[in-house]
C-alpha cells in the first residue's frame, strides 16, 4: 500500500455542495439582506481603517480645539473629547487598532482552537483526554480576567493584546472543531480514505477539514466579533497600548465625563456595536448560504 494517486476520497457529497457552486453560494448569501448590509458596513469600516491617514491627515492625539465641543459644532462633526481631540479623527483611526487586534486575535484563536480540537477529535483516546483537560483548564479561568493579567504582565502593546485575547478565547473553537472531527471521521468517505492507505495528515487536512469548514467559518465570524469586544474591553480598562487610539480607549479616557459630555462615550460605543453587529450579520449570512434548508430558523 504505497502512495498511489488516491481516487479523490475528499469529494464526499458535502464537499461537492460547498466547493463547486460558488455562484449558488453567493446567491443564497445575497438573499439575506441583513447579511448584505452587514457586509457593506464592514467593508466601509475596513476602508476607513485602511485609508485613515488619507481621509484625515491629522494626528488623532492632537488637541485641536477646546475640550468637550459638542458634535456638529464648528467643523467638528462628532465634537471633541476631554482633551480637545477631534472625535471623528479618533474614531477613524480607532478602527485600525480595533480591526488589526480583533482580526489577528481571532486568527490566533482559530489556529489554536482548530489545532487542539482537530487533534482531539481525530485521534481521540489519550490525546483527546490530555487536550480536553487543557481546554477545561482554560474554561474555568474567567477569560477577560486572564487576558487582563496577561496584558499587565507583559508590555501593553498591540501584539500582546492580540495574543492575550487569542489565548483566552480559543476553547469554543476547539470544542466545535472536536465535535465536527469526531462526527466526520466516522463517515463512509473517511473510512474509504483510510482503507486505501491515506496517511493521517492527509485525512485530517484534505478529507475531514474541508467537510468541517462550514460551521467553523460561521464560527469564525462570531470569533471575530468576540475578539473585537475583548479588545474594546481591555482598552476601555486602560490595559492596551496607550499610544494607539482605539474605540475602547476613547470611552475609557472619557468615562468620568459621561454625564457632562455623553457623546464622548456613546459615539465610540456605536462604532464598536456596528462593527460587531456587521460581523455577526455576515456570520448569519454565511450560515444561511451553507445551510439553505435551515433558513426557516
Amino acid at each position: 500500500m504505497t502512495d498511489r494517486p488516491a481516487t479523490a476520497p475528499e469529494s464526499g457529497p458535502e464537499t461537492v455542495r460547498i466547493e463547486r457552486p460558488v455562484v449558488e453560494f453567493l446567491r443564497m448569501y445575497v438573499r439575506n439582506w441583513a447579511a448584505v448590509a452587514g457586509f457593506i458596513v464592514f467593508a466601509a469600516i475596513v476602508f476607513a481603517a485602511l485609508f485613515a491617514p488619507v481621509i484625515l491627515a491629522v494626528d488623532p492625539f492632537e488637541m485641536v480645539r477646546m475640550h468637550f465641543t459638542p458634535p456638529g459644532h464648528d467643523s467638528y462633526v462628532l465634537g471633541t473629547d476631554n482633551l480637545g481631540r477631534d472625535m471623528l479623527t479618533a474614531i477613524v483611526y480607532g478602527a485600525r487598532a480595533t480591526l488589526v487586534v480583533g482580526g489577528s486575535a481571532a486568527g490566533l484563536t482559530i489556529v489554536i482552537g482548530l489545532t487542539i480540537g482537530s487533534l482531539a477529535g481525530y485521534y481521540r483516546g489519550w490525546v483527546d483526554e490530555v487536550l480536553m483537560r487543557i481546554t477545561e483548564f482554560f474554561q474555568v479561568l474567567p477569560p477577560l480576567l486572564l487576558a487582563m493579567v496577561l496584558v499587565a504582565l507583559f508590555e501593553p502593546t498591540l501584539p500582546t493584546v492580540a495574543i492575550a485575547i487569542g489565548v483566552v478565547t480559543w476553547t469554543g473553537v476547539a470544542r466545535l472543531a472536536r465535535a465536527e472531527f469526531m462526527r466526520i471521521r466516522e463517515l463512509e468517505f473517511v473510512k474509504a480514505a483510510r482503507s486505501i492507505g491515506s496517511r493521517d495528515r492527509r485525512i485530517i487536512w484534505r478529507v475531514i477539514l474541508p467537510n468541517a469548514l462550514p460551521p467553523l467559518i460561521v464560527n469564525a465570524a462570531l470569533t471575530c466579533g468576540i475578539a473585537i469586544l475583548f479588545e474594546a474591553a481591555l482598552s476601555f480598562l486602560g490595559l492596551s497600548d496607550p499610544n494607539v487610539m482605539s474605540w475602547g480607549k476613547i470611552i475609557g479616557d472619557n468615562r468620568d465625563y459621561l454625564l457632562d459630555a455623553p457623546w464622548t462615550v456613546t459615539i465610540p460605543g456605536v462604532a464598536i456595536f456596528l462593527t460587531v453587529l456587521a460581523v455577526s450579520l455576515i456570520g448569519d449570512g454565511l450560515n444561511d448560504a451553507f445551510n439553505p434548508r435551515l433558513r426557516e430558523r
Binding site: 474555568v140 487582563m148 474594546a232 456595536f273 430558523r297
Partner: protein, 312 residues
Amino acid sequence: MLLLAVVVFNFILLSLVPGDIADTLAGESGGASQEVMDDIRRTYGLDRPFHIQLATYVGKVVQGDLGTSYYFNMPVTELILGRVAPTLLLVVTALVLAILIGTLFGVIASRRPNGLFSHFVTVLALVGFAAPVFWTAFLLIVLFVAMLEIMPLSGLVDPTTPRGTFSWYLDVLHHLFLPVLSLSSIYLASYSRLARASMMDVLGSDYIRTARAKGLGETSVTYKHALRNAVIPVITIAGLQFSHIFSGAVVVETVFTWPGLGTLAFESILRGDTPTIMGILFFSAMIVIVVNLLTDLTYRLVDPRIRSARNA
C-alpha cells in the same frame, strides 16, 4: 486536580513578571538600599529557589492560605472573602434573570415562529451580542441616572443607610438594578434565541405529537412536555458560559464601582499586587468549578438520561 493546575499555572505566570514586590515597595518609598531590598525579599520568601517557592505556595493554598496582599498587607483569603458577596449577588442575579427571562422569551417566540415577537427575539440576540457591556452600562446610566434620575450612579449601598435594616437591603437592590441589567442583557438576549431554537426543535419531535394525540392542551404540551426538554441546552450553555459572565462582571463592577472581586482584581492588576491577583484567579476558577457542578446537578434533575449514564 484542575484547581491544582490553576494554582501552579498562576504561580508560574506571575513569576514571569519582571520586577517584584521589593522593586514596587522600593519604588514607592523613593528608592531603597540593596540591604533593605534583600530584607523585603526574605520577608516574602522571594530569595529561595523557584521550585521551593512554588511548593510553599501550593502547600499554603491547600490550607486555605493564599498569601498576603502586598498592597493591603492583609491575608488575601480574608480580603477576597470580604469582597465575594457583592460579586456573587451580582453574577448570580444576572445569570438567573437571564435564564428565566430568556427562556420565557424563547418559549413565547416559539409559539409563533414567524410572528413579531419572534423577530424581536432574533434582533435582540444580535444587539445583545454586539453591544459591549460597558457601553450598555453607560447608556443605561445616561437613561436612568441622568435623564430619569431614578437610579443611583454607583456603589453597593448609600453609606448613610443603617446597615442590616430593611431599608438597607432595599437600597442594595436599588443599587443592584443597573449593574444586573447591564450584565444580564447580553445573556438574556442569547438565551432567548437559544431557547427559541430549542423549543422549535422540541415542538417538532415525535413525543410532542404523542402528547397531542393523548388529548393534552397546548399549555400542557408547551410547558410540561416541551419546556423541560427545551431548557436542557440553555442550562448547558449557561454552565459553559459562566466564566464569561464572571468576566463581564469585572467590567460592570468597574463601571459602577461595585465593591466586589472584579474591582479588586482590576485595581490589584494596576497595583501589581501579585498575591491578590493569584488569589482572585484561583478563587474565580473555584467558583466556576462549583457552578459547573451545580449545572451538572440541575442537569441530572431535569434529564433522567444523564442520571444513569453520563457522557462528555
